[in-house]
């Protein structure tokens, strides 16, 4: 069904291009319809053929190779951010489950983090880093990791805590009757019981890490990353419109790759659990 959906979208795109107004149009007085000029909406085949041509006139590398390399770079950065964020999230959740004081202190901020657009703090983190050390400034990818970690951390922490706290009381009483100390109960009971909560959150965290990394790359122009490509190709958008879309494809592939990875992790974690009742 996937290829069909894409063909459908491509079909819609081209269909609209042929009938839509060049300078954009109004529906019921609202400027609703996007511009259909080739500059704003390149033809689908233009976008795909652009992939084969070189990045700059006279260059040797086809652009898809540039985009692919950048996508791979960003993927690795996002992966690191995801792993660190997930580990931190689980760690903090365990602390919160163990020490009620920690839970009470941190919980409101966790909730707030879910409702507040923390992504805006990107430039701030970068600024802090610049302050921290001269040579860190050049290693802007660290800022991308930090932002990715920041975004991935929260959903994992919230979900892990919920999972750890929703262990069936009967099982907890069983462990108590077996005189099991808290950490043992954690490892043998609470944690495995929390997996169904953690797994979906890991999917969210993967996507969040990607978003964080890409946003950081865009705002900082991290060299080598796909975000930077979007930024610079976007600047060329008026002269070479399909170029931007090649970078967009790259980012889409990045997102899909991460999604596939986290789905695989999800399946692996949940292989011993009964299938969802839905």
């Amino acid at each position: 069904m996937f290829p069909l959906a894409f063909v459908f979208v491509a079909g819609l795109w081209e269909a609209y291009k042929s009938v839509g107004p060049e300078a954009g149009g109004k529906v019921l007085g609202i400027r609703l319809l996007p511009r259909t000029a080739d500059r704003a909406m390149p033809h689908v085949w233009d976008m795909t053929s652009r992939l084969g041509r070189p990045e700059v006139r006279g260059g040797t590398e086809a652009i898809w190779q540039v985009v692919a390399a950048a996508t791979w770079y960003s993927f690795r950065v996002a992966l690191v951010a995801f792993v660190i964020g997930a580990l931190l999230g689980v760690g903090v959740a365990v602390l919160m489950a163990r020490f009620k004081v920690v839970e009470r202190a941190v919980m409101p901020y966790l909730i707030v983090s879910q409702t507040v657009p923390i992504i805006v703090l990107g430039p701030l983190i970068i600024g802090l880093m610049a302050y921290g050390s001269r040579d860190l400034v050049s290693k802007t990818w660290i800022a991308a990791i930090i932002l990715g970690v920041f975004l991935a951390f929260f959903p994992v922490a919230v979900a892990t805590l919920r999972g750890l706290q929703s262990t069936p009381p009967a099982s907890l009483e069983l462990m108590e009757s077996l005189a099991a100390p808290w950490w043992r109960t954690l490892v043998k009971l609470r944690f495995p019981a929390a997996i169904p909560f953690i797994a979906p959150a890991l999917r969210l965290a993967g996507a969040a890490a990607v978003v964080g990394v890409v946003v950081a790359e865009i705002s900082l122009g991290v060299p080598g990353g796909v975000g930077r490509l979007i930024l610079s190709y976007g600047q060329d958008a008026s002269s070479d419109p399909p170029k931007l879309y090649t970078a967009v494809f790259g980012a889409a592939v990045l997102g899909l790759a991460m999604a596939l990875l986290v789905v695989a992790i999800d399946r692996q974690l949940m292989r011993r659990h009964p299938p969802e009742a839905t």
């Binding site: 959906a5 400027r31 805006v120 430039p123 302050y131």
Partner: protein, 262 residues
């Protein structure tokens, strides 16, 4: 006796986060003062408060622009998502087309799609941003409502059968009301995301009067205190959306209360 016990337990709940927050802010303020950190790196909390107090209108106006974009997108996306899910129940083809798209859109970093949309729309329009929010909200609501429609209460279905009810009657009186919890939970989930997308969609040029553009503009520049003031504004908008949608869920779907807190 009971009064002091209640006070003590309330304090036990309220104090830790407040203490944590206050300590954090105090350390922040102290660190900036002691290390004489330049304001263009990171502002003092006191400077942020000053910026807020000096000209609250700035922050409010920008918040309204972004807030309205998010709200329009949230409402439109929910309505379209709901209708599409109901239609999908009848006509499988729609679902088969939309579901893979839903998966893809969920995977691709939203920021990127925003950039594309930005290109497609004229510079002075908010439409691109609202469209972006609508799309994001649409997929969340669509997936949840479609899931809800598949949950059928067998007793209620048998009951309607015994009434010789028409499929339309069953749809209107049983299946759609049964999906209300799913719809409003989806809206509650989508609300903060709507705000985030509305914000991020402003990073890519276009009119510069929303929170997102103000934040990126000021935080990248030198007046960081003002930038933080805008961040506070953005946080408040996010909280308002979350509170509003939670309240809506609480009011419209009261029978969920016992399940949510169970």
């Amino acid at each position: 006796m009971k009064f002091t016990a209640r006070v003590r337990s309330s304090l036990a709940v309220i104090l830790p986060p407040i203490v944590l927050g206050v300590v954090f802010i105090a350390l922040w303020q102290a660190w900036v003062e002691i290390k004489d950190v330049q304001p263009f790196v990171i502002p003092k909390p006191s400077a942020i408060i000053d910026a807020l107090r000096e000209d609250p209108d700035l922050v409010v106006k920008a918040s309204v622009v972004t807030g309205v974009n998010a709200l329009v997108g949230l409402v439109l996306g929910s309505v379209i998502g709901f209708v599409a899910a109901v239609l999908t129940n009848r006509y499988r083809l729609i679902g088969d087309l939309v579901n893979p798209l839903a998966v893809t859109v969920a995977a691709v970093p939203a920021v990127v799609i925003v950039g594309v949309l930005n290109n497609m729309y004229a510079l002075d329009s908010q439409i691109g941003r609202r469209l972006m929010v609508t799309i994001a909200v649409f997929f969340i609501v669509f997936v949840q409502v479609a899931k809800g429609l598949r949950h059928n209460n067998p007793t209620q279905m048998e009951l309607m059968d015994s009434y010789a009810a028409t499929p339309r009657q069953v749809l209107l009186r049983v299946r759609i009301p049964n999906t209300m919890p799913f719809l409003f939970t989806a809206i509650r989930t989508a609300a903060p995301i709507a705000v985030i997308i509305a914000l991020v969609s402003e990073y890519f040029g276009g009119t510069q009067d929303g929170l997102g553009s103000k934040i990126s503009g000021t935080l990248n520049g030198s007046n960081k205190a003002l930038g933080f003031a805008y961040v506070v504004g953005g946080s408040i908008v996010g909280l308002l959306f979350f509170a509003g949608s939670s309240l809506l869920e609480y009011l419209v779907v009261p029978w969920q209360r016992r399940r949510v807190h169970g």
